[in-house]
């Protein structure tokens, strides 16, 4: 066995967390919406966008993840965040071996579909 050190960059952890969070049903996108971010979003590839709206603090064995999510209207937010936490934690453990110590989630937007019906 050859000795050596493996360093996982914060960006990689952020990408993994963002990608895992984005896969959860009810999550529309990550990060706050602005014209600048939407232009960047279109220019970057899906993999590059995965780190948007994610901030991480990585230790040797643990990581603290802070996520900013835009959720779709109609989904129960506590269910979405539970699934996001579980998805992110398991992806991190599987891919990097890091344990998610804390996953803080901030809902920064609720996205509505364009069709709204007026009802009595």
């Amino acid at each position: 066995m050859i000795d050596g050190t493996t360093v996982i960059e914060d960006e990689v952890v952020a990408s993994i967390a963002g990608f895992a969070a984005g896969k959860v049903k009810g999550v529309e996108s990550l990060g706050k919406s602005s014209i600048t971010s939407s232009v960047i979003h279109h220019i970057k590839s899906a993999e590059d966008n995965a780190g948007t709206g994610v901030k991480v603090e990585v230790g040797k064995r643990e990581a603290i993840i802070n996520l900013e999510l835009n959720v779709m209207y109609g989904y129960y937010i506590p269910d979405i965040v539970d699934e996001v936490r579980s998805n992110v934690a398991s992806s991190l453990m599987e891919i990097t071996g890091l344990m998610a110590k804390e996953i803080n989630i901030r809902i920064v937007g609720i996205k509505f579909s364009d069709t709204k019906r007026k009802t009595g």
Binding site: S34, I77, I103, N104, R106, I107, V108, I110, K118, T119
Partner: protein, 215 residues
């Protein structure tokens, strides 16, 4: 889109429009290449002026299309900005909530939904306001809905101003909005709603509504 972004888009639009207009003027022979002050970009503009045949046509068409697009972009941005800049129905000093001790939160504030050792879940007040406004206007005869949010130990306090269709049953419209808003917040975020106070205005002309706005 915030004011800075909108301003940036308009500024870029004006610069591109000016560039396209200069190229168009020179390519059509209306102006000479030394149009810009201090002989700026004269060499490049001379190439435009020297273009003949299909090259000249392409330059004219492209610069014309670019100029037209920029005009449309600027007009769109200005119209959108003027629509959004209409005064809010409710101002920060105008509380509809009758509960004493109501203190409106800023839309930039964050509400904590839950906090455990696994992490904190929070939501921007702006998102709750967006939710409330979008849900309330699905009520028939409800035209516009603005709200401020406060919080006490029982849950969220909503102080809202609404514009309903002239002649509609204000009590009924308010009751339906109250019910839908409460249901949406509780069912989607898990946050409890303690009180929803609504002040109804009837939809008159836009000017009249704006004059009714409390500043």
């Amino acid at each position: 889109m915030n004011v800075f972004n909108r301003g940036t888009v308009i500024l870029i639009g004006i610069i591109v429009l000016a560039g396209a207009a200069v190229v168009l003027l020179i390519s059509t022979g209306v102006s000479t290449p030394d149009l810009l002050p201090g002989g700026f970009l004269t060499t490049y503009l001379q190439n435009v002026a020297d273009a003949t045949g299909s090259n000249a046509v392409i330059i004219m068409v492209v610069s014309g299309i670019v100029a037209l697009c920029m005009v449309l972009l600027i007009v769109f941005e200005i119209i959108t900005a003027s629509r959004k800049s209409s005064p809010p129905l409710i101002s920060m000093n105008d509380s509809v909530v009758t509960t004493t001790g109501f203190k409106a939160m800023s839309k930039q504030d964050i509400l904590v939904i839950s906090s455990t050792e696994k992490g904190t879940t929070s939501i921007d007040v702006q998102s709750i306001c967006d939710l409330v406004e979008n849900v309330a206007i699905t009520v028939y005869n409800m035209h516009r809905f603005d709200c401020k949010i406060g919080r006490n130990s029982d849950g969220l306090l909503l102080s809202c101003r609404a514009v309903a269709a002239l002649g509609s049953n204000a009590v009924e419209v308010a009751a339906k909005s109250r019910s839908r808003v409460t249901e949406a917040i509780e069912q989607l975020t898990g946050l409890a709603v303690a009180r929803v106070d609504i002040k109804i205005l009837y939809d008159k002309s836009k000017k009249e509504i704006e004059s009714l706005t409390v500043h």
